[in-house]
């Protein structure tokens, strides 16, 4: 067998094998194909791609699948702007839906200006670490530690620390993804609809003077808000006023009028409007 024959034979064998398997693959592709709506890919391209999970689904693709199936509406995405939602709605030919904007709210107003600092914490500068050492330096064991674990956890740059060491949430940027809820060792963040405007910015279970000695803006459990609000909107449980958001429609500003410590507030937009100055960003 001379050289040229060898080349031809090998080429034929390889080509033949390739042809056979190519045919098999082509057949398998037809036979075993899983049909997927091509609109899913198109929708994914229009979604923000943040995979934040704030919509309640594990990532943008899962949300897109639900969108195409008609199980959710485009407004369910907390990250998209109004235009973006319209774009997705137009692409799929569905209604945009009414978005219920949800934001993270901090249930503590005890900044360094109002809360008693009973010890100084030195050590690893994270809230989680400080919480492990005698619960941090603040006298109030429920209060915000102020070492910005939430700021670091927020992937959307929606949280910045104020000069008094409280995290300020920018409602426009907050996607309600819940990362701050998980990051806070004191469980001070709650994700709630922005229509929930009556908020008790305190979690201290202490009552009366004891609570107020530790923090000037603590809920003392006096019960005035519960008395002034429409029946059933606020209850005092374990020395803390709690708003029943099932009855949010009945909530009004009358509840906050007589609060001696301003622990209960009516929030339009951002919390802590007086604390606009921000601390220098942590490196």
């Amino acid at each position: 067998m001379d050289d040229s024959t060898t080349i031809v034979v090998s080429a034929l064998i390889l080509g033949g094998v390739g042809l056979v398997f190519g045919t098999l693959i082509a057949l398998a592709f037809r036979k075993l194909r899983v049909w997927e709506d091509p609109r899913i890919d198109g929708t994914v391209a229009l979604l923000p791609g943040a995979n934040c999970g704030a919509c309640g689904y594990p990532g943008c693709r899962a949300f897109a699948e639900k969108l195409v199936a008609g199980a959710v509406q485009p407004a369910g995405c907390n990250v998209l702007s109004g235009d973006g939602i319209e774009e997705v709605a137009a692409y799929l030919g569905v209604a945009a839906g009414a978005a219920q904007k949800r934001v993270a709210r901090l249930l503590c107003a005890g900044g360094s200006d109002v809360a008693l600092q009973q010890a100084e914490y030195r050590g690893l500068p994270t809230c989680g670490a400080a919480a492990a050492v005698a619960g941090g330096g603040k006298a109030c064991k429920w209060g915000c530690i102020g070492l910005a674990d939430c700021e670091a956890a927020c992937g959307f740059g929606a949280i910045h620390m104020s000069e008094t060491g409280l995290p300020l949430v920018d409602p426009a940027r907050c996607t309600a993804c819940g990362d701050c809820v998980a990051a806070c060792p004191k469980n001070l963040f709650v994700v709630m609809p922005i229509e929930h405007k009556l908020i008790v910015q305190c979690r201290s279970l202490l009552e009366g003077d004891v609570a107020e000695q530790l923090c000037a803006v603590a809920c003392t459990g006096c019960g005035r808000c519960a008395a002034d609000a429409k029946p059933g909107v606020i209850r005092i449980v374990d020395g803390l006023a709690r708003v029943d958001y099932e009855k949010n429609d009945l909530a009004g500003r009358e509840a906050i009028a007589r609060c001696p410590t301003k622990a209960i507030v009516w929030v339009e937009g951002a919390q802590f409007p007086a604390l606009s100055r921000l601390a220098p960003a942590r490196s």
Binding site: Q118, A119, R122, G123, L124, T126, G128, A129, A131, A132, V133, A134, G135, G136, G137, A139, K141, P185, L205, L206
Partner: protein, 443 residues
């Protein structure tokens, strides 16, 4: 005396600093005006109160009942009136439910008449029940209920009772004083525990920096039992259960297993003495020895303190704080936790109160890891703290679990040797807490 060098590998040797209190005799603290008894003073389920506000209790009366097997009852350490049952600062930094007793100032603090059974006539089960009723927990700091460790699990056999008198933490001299002042109690406690466990051998591990304690225990050794005093080299964390087992009987406890799997049970010498006291006097655990020491306290000493005494009262009895005092640590400086409130009470597991001054409590800058490997050489359980630290910094807690974070006992050796001042041990503590949170969320 054994001639082989008794050893565990790795560990560190921090300055001992025990000279402040080592030679000081026990002093009894006067009853304070108020006692605070947190319901959670032991590892396990908190006790359940059985008194109401306004009740009068006598010294030694039970005020809270054990809730479950891994739980112990709680007793009034002085006579008085129950003034409140509610939240109070706890040594761990939280507010936790506690029983407060307004102590009668002009009282004899007598105890109720009680029948004291002879321990020799009791069965194993009766002995264990009596230990439990006495509210005895591990007095070395972890406060694990002692009776639980006296009942080996089904199918396990205990060869050795190991009595832990190492006291490897710097500053502390609590166990030292127990052994020097109550050697007979230690001896009696050993007898009772050996009977409970059915152990044939007993080794008392004491670090060599406590020669007086070694002599005292040696002097009172029983002739009829196989009990040996083992002087150990001074090395931290010698007093950690697994390290002590390795040093004394050269057996290694596998990760996730209990000492009983290698035929050993370790008991703190203070708990051993307390059990003997309970059978001598019929009284439960009402007071414990606490070392109050450090450069930040005026008159350091070893005190016999009623359980529930607030730190404020304890420190006042020691002359108060010096102007330079900066940091108060419950337990030793290696594993102890700083407290932020002087209203925190002394609990059953409080071994010492160390008050550090300016010089010993500095703020240090945390520098980047230079991968020197000192932490690997120091870790007594052979982990890789440097890798774990990098993972902790990245928040990859689950991956840390794959690298045996669970084996870490937070002894602090890695933090101690780190030239970059990286608080590794604290990072691991945070990661452990985060993992618990993640697991709780999953289930």
């Amino acid at each position: 005396m054994p001639t082989i060098p008794l050893n565990f590998r790795h560990g560190v040797h921090p300055p001992e600093l025990k000279e402040l209190t080592a030679g000081r005799q026990l002093r009894r603290l006067p009853y304070p005006d108020e006692l605070v008894l947190p319901l959670r003073q032991h590892t396990g389920k908190p006790a359940r109160p059985i008194v109401r506000v306004g009740d009068r209790v006598m010294r030694g009366d039970k005020v809270a009942e054990a809730d479950g097997w891994v739980s112990v009852p709680l007793h009034a350490s002085a006579s008085g009136i129950i003034s409140a049952i509610g939240l109070w600062p706890h040594p761990d930094g939280s507010l936790a439910p506690a029983i407060r007793i307004a102590v009668e100032r002009y009282s004899l603090h007598e105890t109720r008449a009680r029948v004291i059974p002879d321990w020799r006539g009791l069965s194993k089960e009766q002995l264990v029940a009596a230990v439990r009723e006495a509210g005895v927990v591990g007095l070395g700091g972890a406060a694990f209920p002692t009776h639980v460790k006296l009942v080996p699990p089904e199918g396990e056999h205990v060869d050795y009772l190991l009595v832990n008198g190492c006291e490897c933490e710097p500053y502390l001299t609590t166990d030292d004083r127990t052994m020097v002042e109550y050697p007979e109690r230690v001896q009696l406690g050993i007898r009772i525990m050996m009977k409970c466990l059915g152990a044939r051998h007993c080794l008392v591990g004491i670090e060599k920096n406590k020669p007086e304690a070694i002599r005292a225990i040696q002097r009172t050794l029983p002739d009829d039992l196989d009990v040996l005093v083992m002087p150990l080299r001074v090395r931290y964390p010698q007093g950690a259960e697994k390290m002590l087992i390795k040093a004394l009987i050269d057996r290694e406890v596998p990760p996730g297993k209990l000492p009983v799997h290698v035929g050993a049970v370790v008991q703190n010498v203070g708990s051993v003495a307390t059990i003997a006291e309970a059978f001598e006097t019929g009284l439960p655990l009402l007071e414990r020895i606490v070392t109050v020491t450090g450069d930040g306290v005026r008159r350091p000493g070893n005190l016999l303190v009623p359980v529930g005494t607030k730190l404020r009262d304890l420190l006042d009895a020691c002359g108060g704080l010096t102007p330079g005092a900066r940091k108060i640590v419950l337990g030793g400086p290696m594993m102890g936790a700083a407290v932020s409130d002087l209203n925190v009470p002394v609990c059953k597991g409080t071994t010492g109160v160390v008050v550090l001054d300016d010089r010993h409590s500095r703020s240090v800058e945390i520098l980047p890891c230079i991968r020197c490997g000192h932490c690997l050489d120091a870790c007594p359980v052979f982990l890789n703290p440097q890798l774990l630290g990098a993972l902790a910094r990245a928040g990859r807690h689950e991956q840390m679990e794959e690298h045996d974070l669970a084996t870490c006992m937070l002894c602090g050796c890695c933090s101690y040797v780190c030239p970059s001042n990286i608080p590794l041990s604290q990072m691991f503590q945070v990661s452990k807490a985060a993992l618990t949170k993640i697991k709780a969320a999953r289930s």
